[in-house]
């Protein structure tokens, strides 16, 4: 039997990815350039008995999705830069309360309302540092429409597996361009179930680390009563200032993601075997990078590309290993240098890091990357 195919926008593919992953609750507030996600969810969720709510603003949308997640729903939300700024308070709460949820953020020009219709990649630091305090961060950056579908599915799986919010962040180009999507059959991509308690309600503690770094999460309404707070908490979920508990909990929350970085980080290595100059790119910019690498190879330049699929946790180990082997890194991105900070941190002075940075709402074209390669070689 041939698989179902469709010609879709990145935003539309994201919605179908969420539905494939079992999403049954969406709360959001429309914003350019991500509104198509909400449009599709508003049509599709009622058909499967799910809930779609357009809230009064982005903060309320996040609060609604987190409440639903605690009631056992698999929740999704879409937004863009200004909305992501508003959501930071709730993202912090989802981190400390360990609430699984997936937020789809299409990157447009910023800061503030910036350039609503122009592409950008300037939210990648916000994905990690936007909310205050030490916390885990997972952020995925797809570069094709098919990959947008697949990465949203992966985001749901990671959020359940690690009981934490996950961000999926395409730039506006990936979100609005159309390509063919081949839908996987049900079951073809495994779906991570939520780990629920095996103990009876009277023995349940929502942050019981005797079950490991990711404690089981009961659903409100299923007979399990538990407390959730945005304050530092003990294993029973109630606020605490007890030094050893707070220290242990903070460390565990970060550790559950950082110690599993190899499970979370995905990337693509393109023509890296003998590469002397390596493009480090993500999203639509990696498509320009691939074009430039192909052109460079035709001209005898040993170029390659390391394409990020996971931005956070950052692939430190992989970039460190490359740094000892290459003449230089080129980091094209639609911001004034964010990924390049991470590449520089890992290059540790062993290889120069040259940025190509555009914030004028235009994509980085392959010629710019090719020209920069010639500066390195």
């Amino acid at each position: 039997m041939s698989k179902k195919v469709a010609f879709l926008q990145g935003n539309e593919a994201a919605s179908y990815g969420a539905l494939y992953a079992g999403c049954n609750f969406f709360a959001g507030y429309p914003i350019t350039p991500s509104t198509e996600v909400a449009e599709v969810m508003s049509v599709e969720l009622p058909k499967i008995g799910g809930k779609f709510i357009q809230m009064e603003d982005e903060i309320a949308a996040s609060a609604a999705m987190m409440g639903a997640a605690l009631a056992g729903f698999k929740t999704f939300d879409s937004t863009s830069g200004p909305g992501l700024s508003l959501k930071q308070e709730l993202i912090g709460m989802a981190c400390i309360s360990e609430i699984p949820c997936v937020i789809f953020n299409v990157m447009r020009g910023g800061p503030s309302t910036g350039m609503p219709t122009g592409p950008s990649q300037s939210d990648v630091m916000c994905a990690k540092w936007g909310t205050h305090g030490d916390h885990p961060a997972i952020c995925l950056v797809p570069s094709t429409v098919q990959e947008t579908f697949e990465e949203v599915v992966r985001a749901f799986n990671l959020s359940e597996k690690y009981r934490t919010p996950v961000l999926v962040m395409p730039d506006e180009i990936v979100a609005h361009m159309r390509e063919r999507v081949v839908f996987p059959e049900p079951g073809e991509i495994p779906i991570e179930p939520r780990r629920t308690p095996t103990v009876p309600p009277e023995q349940y503690k929502p942050y019981d680390t005797s079950f490991g770094d990711v404690p089981p999460l009961a659903a409100y309404g299923s007979g399990y009563k538990f407390h959730v707070t945005s304050l530092n908490k003990g294993q029973d979920g109630f606020p605490t200032t007890k030094a050893e508990w707070v220290q242990a909990e903070e460390e565990r929350q970060v550790r559950k993601v950082e110690a599993n970085a190899d499970d979370i980080i995905e990337f693509e290595e393109y023509q890296l075997d003998d590469a002397e100059v390596v493009v480090v790119a993500y999203g639509s910019t990696s498509r320009s990078g691939r074009y430039a690498v192909n052109e460079a190879r035709k001209q005898g330049i040993k170029a390659g590309m390391f394409r990020l699929k996971t931005f956070w946790p950052f692939p430190d180990k992989q970039i460190k290993a490359l740094a000892g082997k290459v003449k230089g890194f080129i980091v094209p991105e639609m911001n004034l240098g964010m990924c390049s900070i991470e590449v520089e941190r890992n290059a540790q002075g062993k290889a120069p890091v040259l940025g190509i940075n555009r914030v004028d709402g235009e994509p980085i074209n392959p010629d710019q990357i090719l020209a920069k390669m010639k500066e390195v070689i």
């Binding site: 219709t117 159309r178 390509e179 063919r180 639509s284 691939r290 074009y291 192909n294 392959p366």
Partner: protein, 181 residues
């Protein structure tokens, strides 16, 4: 790797984004090639010059935007002036002869016929001018077969307007062949 780049341009509201989507869908879903469609997206969508870009290839497509245009449709003089700068040598330019009077100079083939008036007078509805233009672009570029393009058109329009769009597509195709002969 054969990379073919098309740009559909004109005024916001002329349906050129839709024409681009249908061309890409024809290539991607019905012709079995790779295709990417993107568009300028902004205030120009409500008037002023608007564009939709389509890349078609036998192999996978990396950069999703036009680098050197193989085929350009210009439905207004403004769009023609704004978007013809990167038209390739040996490429093709299709314009509405009633609206585009000043043609760019260059080593490419220019085809013109009254696209909007064909829709208005011969098909009977001005609103299908984009499908007339699409039919013409299919004929002039040869990237997808007439049959596959027609399938993509018919799967993209409401049931009640199938005959209207079929006629618009066929007239556009035939007029372009005639005009370029």
């Amino acid at each position: 790797m054969s990379r073919y780049e098309l740009r559909f341009s004109g005024a916001g509201g002329q349906g050129l984004i839709t024409a681009g989507i249908i061309m890409a869908k024809a290539a991607s879903i019905y012709e079995g090639k790779e295709a990417v469609q993107s568009q300028s997206y902004g205030p120009e969508a409500r008037g002023g010059a608007s564009k939709s870009e389509v890349i078609i290839s036998e192999g996978s497509i990396d950069y999703p935007k036009v680098t050197q245009c193989d085929a350009l449709l210009a439905m207004t003089q403004e769009a023609c002036n704004k978007y013809s700068h990167d038209l390739k040598e040996g490429g093709v330019l299709l314009v509405d002869s009633d609206l585009v009077k000043t043609l760019p100079k260059g080593n490419f083939k220019t085809v013109s016929f009254p696209i909007i008036n064909t829709a208005k007078n011969d098909v009977g509805r001005e609103i299908v001018a984009n499908i007339v233009a699409l039919g013409a672009m299919v004929a002039l570029t040869g990237q997808v077969t007439r049959e596959n393009a027609e399938k993509a058109v018919l799967s993209s329009v409401p049931e009640a307007f199938i005959e209207l769009n079929k006629k618009a597509f066929a007239l556009g195709f035939d007029k372009a062949v005639e005009a370029s002969a």
